[in-house]
Amino acid sequence: MMADRRRINGPPGGTRPAVFASNLQSGTSATDRAQRQRQPSELRKIFLKTGLIPTASGSSYLEFEPSASLAAARANPKSLIPPSSALKLACTVHGPKPLPRSAAFSPNLVLTTHIKYAPFAARQRKGHIRDASERDLGVHLETALRGAIIAERWPKSGLDITITILEAEDDRWWGSAPDSHDASWGMMNVLAGCITAASAAIADAHIDCLDLVAGGVAALVSDDSASTSTVAPKLMLDTDPAEHRSILSACVVAYMPARDEITELWLKGDSSKASLEDGDDRTGHEALIDGAVDAARGAHAVLAEAVRESLLKTVGQA
């Protein structure tokens, strides 16, 4: 790799992440595996605050409540390996502002979204340049917001939304080996958080929207060990991938409750094997989407409260 002349580079030969002795011996720490303590439909608490970054037109900071295992590990640290992590991100909105001279005419507000992980956000060190998954997240976020913003009110203007992820969610429990159902499940939680935070920041910037759009995640998980795999997977809301043995399918939605509209839907994995209650004749993916919408409704309540706070603050200032 060419050395990046615009950054300070590490040793030319590269470095290796630390390998822990407990990882090398198999099966020792299976007992400390993170376990979900919440009910299947119980959501994690969200900390959401707006207006912390005064140089931006609008801003928000979002934090998910740490899982029970992480909270325990924090209170009484024993191992350097964190059992799971909790999403932390900062979002800023700049604009509406004039488009750059070189840009073509646009009758609508031009939305630009940008999501970047801090190098220390995940278990593996992230690069300084945006990778494919970060670009992907940006595109998903843009779709989610574009449906909510009333863009024709700002012709010839641009709106920049920038999200910095300080701590991301894991894709699976750190000790498990990657398996066939493996995908970047953590990314879906990150997207849900980004949608909620961006929505709060846009409201903080006083950009007209149809409704506050909130993000929610639901997943089909099978928590039993491999021997009893006959048990069908269960539907859970707001899943922390580190707390589950295997996630078969997951879904993120960006949802506007007032209009009962979904602006963005992202569904991944095999949802055909869902075990639903008797008499429930929804298909697996229908149940999954409903679950995600329920999770989004929960996030919306937090969002509405944060926006109310932001409004009271501006009214108080005037």
Binding site: F120, L166, E167
Partner: protein, 405 residues
């Protein structure tokens, strides 16, 4: 928006027909000047537009260790400027260092010679050869600080673009200061390995680092193989400026300092069977870095009453004459103010800047680690002396904040 004609009479704040926020935008210089030199009749104190006294720093808070995936982390807020710093440690195996075998041989010889002569280096580095310490940290790139402003922290920094000149310059200043203050000890970053002797009990002991120093001296005659460095910890120090409202350097440096103070490195040893470095995940085994001192940065800006002072082809009086003149009219209103910790608004009105980095010894003696001034000709010895004193007071405050976090 009011017509610009309404602002034609600046520096008369009482008769304003504009709300203060508009006036601040249209006539920033007059606005700040009006605050700093209120009409003598009004009996108001000279105060900055943000409500601070000229020598007052913004409210500072620090919080360490809240990020899960780091070896050490900190969030520092200085007013509305916020910096998040995360330290991640990775291993650099000596076999991955191209020039290692050569430099290592010469390095250890030197070390040995020093020990033979019974020479004790300066008291602050009892067991440390300063040159080797420097060479390991600086030549092997063990400290990798990078600062990012592409976080939406302020308008004007395009997210996703390469680091701006300011970000690059700040990254460099942080690295340069880390090197020149020798804040991190190379010995904290070394992973040693003692090749075992024949006895079986020696094998048990080979990863017992604490005992090593003592052992090495006691049983030097027992034909022990010299212990060798198998790897170094490389500290990736990433600083995200989350919110930028002036004076990023002080906040970034404070965040780096707090994060390094929070940094814990796992115990690591050379695993002979796997031929690699293995770490213990036990928190009890991990140890903190032992940093050298606590250098604290304080930045200042000079606000000049004469808005034209910066560009008029004026005749500048001789420095000595000017000093005498300044002594004479000390009673009168000052022509310039040195503003501590300028915010974003003030930075736009400031050309001359100064930055002082201070550390204090255990006996309370002030040591200057770095002193810069640039961009003007008004600050000289007397002002710098005051700035050093002001920075020393700031050091006490920052020490308290950093120790609480």
């Amino acid at each position: 928006m009011a017509p610009p004609a309404a602002t034609a009479a600046p520096s008369v704040p009482p008769s304003l027909s504009l709300p203060p926020s508009q006036f601040a935008r249209l006539q920033p210089h007059a606005y700040l000047l009006g605050h700093l030199s209120p009409p003598s009749a009004s009996n108001q104190p000279s105060i900055r537009a943000n409500g601070r006294a000229p020598s007052q720093f913004r409210v500072t808070s620090a919080n360490a260790g809240s990020l899960t995936h780091t070896n050490g982390s900190a969030v520092v807020r200085i007013g509305d400027t916020a910096a998040v710093c995360g330290v991640r440690a990775e291993l650099l195996h000596t076999e991955d260092i191209a020039s290692w075998s050569v430099s290592q041989a010469s390095g250890s010889n030197k070390r040995r010679r020093l020990a033979d002569l019974g020479e004790k280096p300066t008291e602050e580095d009892e067991d440390e050869d300063p040159e080797e310490d420097r060479a390991h940290i600086e030549d092997l790139n063990l400290l990798v600080p990078n600062l990012s402003l592409s976080t939406g922290c302020a308008p004007g920094f395009i997210p996703g673009a390469a680091p701006s000149a300011l970000a690059q310059s700040l990254s460099h200043q942080i690295l340069s200061l880390l090197h020149s203050t020798r804040l991190v000890r190379a010995d904290d970053l070394r992973v040693w390995y003692q090749p075992p002797n024949l006895g079986p009990e020696e094998l048990e002991r080979h990863n017992d680092e604490e005992q090593m120093d003592v052992d090495a001296e006691q049983s030097a005659t027992a034909e022990e193989k010299p212990r060798e460095i198998k790897a170094f910890w490389v500290l990736y120090i990433d600083i995200m400026i989350i919110s930028l409202a002036g004076n990023p350097f002080d906040a970034a440096w404070a965040a780096v300092l707090a994060a390094l103070r929070d940094t814990k490195l796992p115990k690591a040893w050379w695993d002979v069977d796997n031929e690699t470095i293995v770490c213990s995940d036990s928190v009890a085994d991990a140890r903190k870095l032992s940093l050298r001192g606590l250098p604290v940065a304080s930045s200042y800006g000079v606000f000049e009453a004469d808005a034209a002072a910066g560009w008029r082809a004026n005749v500048i009086p001789d420095a000595v004459e000017e000093n005498a003149q300044a002594q004479k009219d000390k009673k009168g209103s000052p022509e310039r103010w040195i503003l501590a910790d300028p915010d974003g608004y003030e930075e736009g009105l400031i050309q001359e800047r100064a930055c002082v980095v201070i550390d204090k010894e255990k006996d309370g003696k002030t040591t200057i680690v770095k002193m810069e001034k640039n961009g003007g000709w008004t600050v000289d010895t007397e002002d710098l002396r005051q700035l050093v004193e002001m920075s020393a007071r700031r050091w006490d405050e920052m020490k308290r904040i950093l120790e609480q976090c």
